[in-house]
Symmetry: C2
Subunit: 244 residues, 2 copies
DNA sequence: TTATTTAAGTGTCAATAATACACTATTAAA
DNA sequence: TTTAATAGTGTATTATTGACACTTAAATAA
């Protein structure tokens, strides 16, 4: 009886050890918004570092996937507590010509202003408009394309756009962000009606100075409501505008 | 110069070879609908095959991820051309207690009737209602939970429910499917209005016999329109019903 | 001090979509 | 021919969407 179990265990273990293992990488599509354009953070790496690519790294033996993605993001940007969501796993046998590598892609949303103050100089990194990207390494172009689709899909029904803005922001800034994400121009009256109807924003007494004569009121995210709503549908953007 | 490049290449290769490789598995959440209940197909495997688990297998060196998932699905069900979508990649360091394994989970939608005729006897497989599942191996319970969420999310705006029904089906059958997916009861008048307004269904002359006195008309999917619409939003289910 | 400029902020109306709700039609079987 | 069981259909109410234009606030220039 004990013998049977042992045989079984051995068969099990054999099943594992006979398998081919693969390298596992993580790549992050890092979105940022500079007030005008939706941007992606790219770095130089690869052979002689001629090619722009997504920020990436290897999975360590003691790490979970998201944990690894967060570490790699921290190494580049110095940021923690960043919006991070698994996008897709890319595993074409020849996606990396050197050796087969499976890449789990994450997309993340960062506040560019935070990033700029904390960056370490280790990496040659640069923000690119999503509408004007260079040729990317391997299948990173596909990754970015998919990430943009996912961002549009998701931002239409979840308030994740707020992750891209500073703590205090104005409605016109938020509208510009959505304009940039969907590459369109929303009607400001309908937009603010819809956004404010969620009761997710708290109006502050303070006004933005310098940008316009009149100045726009700052708003803050109601974190309590935001958490509660994170997993529900909202439908921010009219379906007809999406054209997906 | 040639020397420099060579050094660089060597450094690159070192970067790869110094990395820990991992086993890569694929697990599939296979949904089916028997006319009444939404079900998941489970198999027995693991130590002494006491535990129900998702159907899974290992990635082969020459396969893409989806290709591997399709192969594994075929091995169990004999089905090809099945709806298959990457769900999520699970990589907790200790999810598999024997050896670290990364699992790319796929969810698939099959027509139970097709399956029943083609099944090979190789696996001990069984359909379980999604509302009455046994304890599952490793993190497979999480996988199923996530798959149900994704199915609900997706079926609300894409006509993927049709993938679960036979070629010819009635509106009451389709409604029962949506009732099962969302664990609720939709109003049949509003439901059929909404479904028919998509113009995605073609009404046949034939009626379903035997189930009800009157008999319901069969419909078929308009494959041309279905393809065209696959990547767009539809919003089948009113937001308020979803409660996600 | 007043006029000018610039963006912020707000309201209404019409069309569409969503929801709630109940009766009639068809067919098989009794 | 009556009964039983499900199929199938319509309307009225309300909520949401989308189109559209003027007023307000404040800094700057005259």
């Amino acid at each position: 009886m004990g013998n049977l179990r042992s045989d079984n265990d051995q068969r099990m273990l054999d099943q594992y050890t006979q398998q081919q293992p693969y390298l596992l990488a993580l790549d992050s599509i890092i979105f940022g918004f500079d007030g005008e354009m939706l941007k992606v953070l790219l770095v130089k790496r690869g052979v002689e570092e001629r090619t722009w690519s997504l920020m990436g790294g290897w999975l360590r033996p003691d790490e979970g996937l998201e944990q690894a993605a967060a570490r790699i993001l921290f190494d580049l940007t110095g940021l923690t507590n960043v919006y991070l969501e698994q996008l897709y796993t890319f595993g074409d046998p020849y996606r990396d010509p050197i050796i087969r590598t499976i890449s789990v892609a994450y997309f993340s949303l960062v506040r560019i202003a935070d990033y700029e103050t904390k960056i370490s100089g280790e990496f040659q990194a640069c923000w690119f408009s999503i509408y004007d990207l260079p040729t990317l390494l391997f299948d990173h172009g596909d990754m970015v394309e998919l990430a943009i689709k996912r961002l549009r899909y998701k931002a239409a029904q979840h308030p994740i756009g707020l992750e891209l803005l500073p703590d205090k922001f104005t409605i016109p800034q938020l509208k510009k962000l959505y304009d940039a994400v969907y590459n369109t121009e929303f009607d400001k009256r309908n937009f603010s009606r819809k956004i404010l109807s969620t009761n997710l924003l708290i109006k502050l007494d303070e006004k933005q100075k310098g940008f316009s004569r009149r100045g726009a009121f700052f708003y803050q995210v109601d974190r309590v409501k935001y958490q509660a709503i994170t997993n529900s549908f909202l439908n921010f953007i009219p379906n007809s505008e999406l054209g997906l």
